[in-house]
Every structure is written in C-alpha cells, then in structure tokens.
Point group: C2
Chain length 188, copies 2
C-alpha cells in the first residue's frame, strides 16, 4: 500500500523528488517509521519500481499475453498501455517514462533496473511481431525490433502529450497510428 502510493506520487514529483517525509505524510506514518522499512532512499526507489512493474504486469502484460494470436497480443499490449495511461492510476503519466527520463543520466542500481524492465517491455513487443511473422500474419519484410520501436514510439508520445494536455485525442492518435501500422504490416 505504501509502495503503491509511492509509485503514484513518483509520477508527479519524480522518483528522486519524492521525499520520504511527504510519502510518510501521505501514508500516515512518521518519517523515521517509514524509513526503517527501507534501509535507504535508493532501496525505497527500487522497491517502488518493483511495485509499479507489478501493476504493469497485472494490468497490461498478463491480460494481453492471454490472447490467442500474436497480433491480438500486440493490440492488447498497446491498448492496455493506453488504457492505463488514460486512467488515474498514475496521475503523472507512465511511471517508467517519468522515471527513465529522470534517471537516464544518473548511473546506478535504479537506472540499471529501469533499463532491464524497459528492455523486457520492448522484448514483449518484438516477440509478438516475430510470432506474427512466423505464423504468416505479418509480411517477412517486417523487422520485429523496428516494429517494436515504432509501436513504442506511438505509445510513448501519446503518454507524454496526454500527461501534458489531458486530452484523449492524443491517445486516439496513437490508436490510429498503431492500427495503420498493423494493417500495413499484415499480409492480407
């Protein structure tokens, strides 16, 4: 519960800007009481990352991977992301986009973990493209990593712009672009 609040707060104030005092206040603890659970701020950040990743796994990845064909899984990942962003779970937009933007020039265990999880997200996307190609649903000319890059690009910019303007138009733009992209990649 503490970590869920931490993840939510981190999208607004940043993972580093999230102060232990404010988080403790939000969770109804004293500063030192909360601090005792984690040995350091970095441990708190790492635990917050895991909590956020669990949300993504539960809300996006697992439901999407339960679909039958790879194209549906791909659509599930994208739609799950856009739905999560459009909801109010993370008031400051995608947790990992915020955190990565903040830590991309701050080497250390936090950035390492964020990098691993971003790679895993990209791998999830590209694997579905590979599978779609293997099943003959996508053209052979479609490069899985390039396709993962493109789809992720639409999702990321939608997140940025929606966080900024809270206008669902930007989410729909990503939906339209991804639809067009998948249609162009399809064999039929």
């Amino acid at each position: 519960m503490i970590l869920d609040a931490a993840a939510r707060l981190a999208t607004v104030e940043g993972l580093e800007g999230l102060s232990i005092a404010r988080l403790a206040d939000k969770a109804g603890f004293s500063k030192s009481g909360l601090f005792a659970h984690f040995g350091s701020k970095e441990e708190l950040q790492l635990a917050t990352i895991e909590a956020a990743w669990e949300v993504y796994g539960r809300e996006i990845i697992e439901p999407a991977l339960r679909e039958n064909d790879p194209v549906a899984r791909l659509r599930g990942l994208a739609e799950g992301f856009l739905t999560l962003i459009g909801g109010d779970v993370f008031p400051g937009g995608c947790f990992f986009a915020s955190a990565t933007a903040e830590f991309d020039t701050r080497p250390g265990p936090v950035l390492d973990r964020l990098t691993v999880l971003d790679d895993e997200w990209m791998r999830n996307l590209s694997e579905q493209v590979s599978a779609a190609r293997a099943e003959g649903l996508f053209r052979e000319t479609v490069d899985p990593e390039q396709a993962a890059f493109d789809i992720n690009a639409f999702l990321h910019l939608a997140n940025e712009r929606y966080t900024l303007h809270h206008d669902a138009t930007d989410l729909d733009r990503a939906r339209r672009s991804i639809n067009a992209y998948l249609s162009a990649a399809a064999t039929t």
Copy 2:
C-alpha cells in the same frame, strides 16, 4: 554563455535539479553574483529555456526551413533533430523532452512556456505536411496533425533511447521509420 551552460546542465540534472550553486561553480561565478542577474530561480529557468530554444532555432529549424520543397523541409527538421541529439551539445538528450517530462505535472510559467514551444515545434512539422499535400507531393488522405504526431513520436523515442544507451542504432531506427513513413505518404 551562462545560459548555454545552464541548458547543457539542465539536460543532465534537470531544469529544477539544476542548482544555482552548481551552475555558478561551472560558470566560474559566485552563487550570489550569478543570482543577481536573475531575480529568482524561475526567471533563470525561463531564460534557460529561451537560450535552448535559440539553439534549436539556429541549428534545426532555420536551416530546414531554407529548403525549397516541403518534403525536404520535413526531412531537414527530422535530420536536424537527430543530428543535434547525436552531438554533444546536450549531454542529457533533447532539452525540451527532459524539461517537459520534469515539469508536465508542475503548473506555472515554466510549463506554460514549454507547452507553447512544443506546440510551435509540432506546428512546424504539420505545416510542412500541409504544404506537401497542397503541392500534390503527399496523398490527400494524409492528416497533417497525425503525420506530425507520428514523426515526432519517432524522434522522441530515438532521443529517449539514445540518451539511455548512446547507441546510434536508435537514431538510425528513427531515420528508417521516418523514411518509410514519408515514402508511404508520397503520391509517387
């Protein structure tokens, strides 16, 4: 000169995380001496934004807009962005991507200015698409704002990933995607 250093530093430490003391140290001034030039930290941030925007105008926008046909201008904007990102002017990646990610949940004059400049950047892109359509270079089915969104998405993700991994592959991915996109939009 101070503001150029500020813009460079801000991409690494963040526009808010950039402390007056560290900037003064970097620029060879005393803290109070530097502070006297700006009435507040916010004024410093706003001045830094203007300095960074001038770099973008000089290095990307103006050269690109000197091209003859709109498609070349579009390519110029994209290539100018990727070249600037790939250079070492902004060690922490695109200044505006960093700053916007940091301030997107922090209302105030800084966010207002960032929003205006982002709109202007998007307008630059979409206007070239409109012009290309008007000159018969792009299909009538191409939506200028949607196209600007898509191209900007490729550029933004390339920036994120290049800042993270310093691997030129990500810049090339954006180049490839934009090339494919422009080819698909062309009438020929």
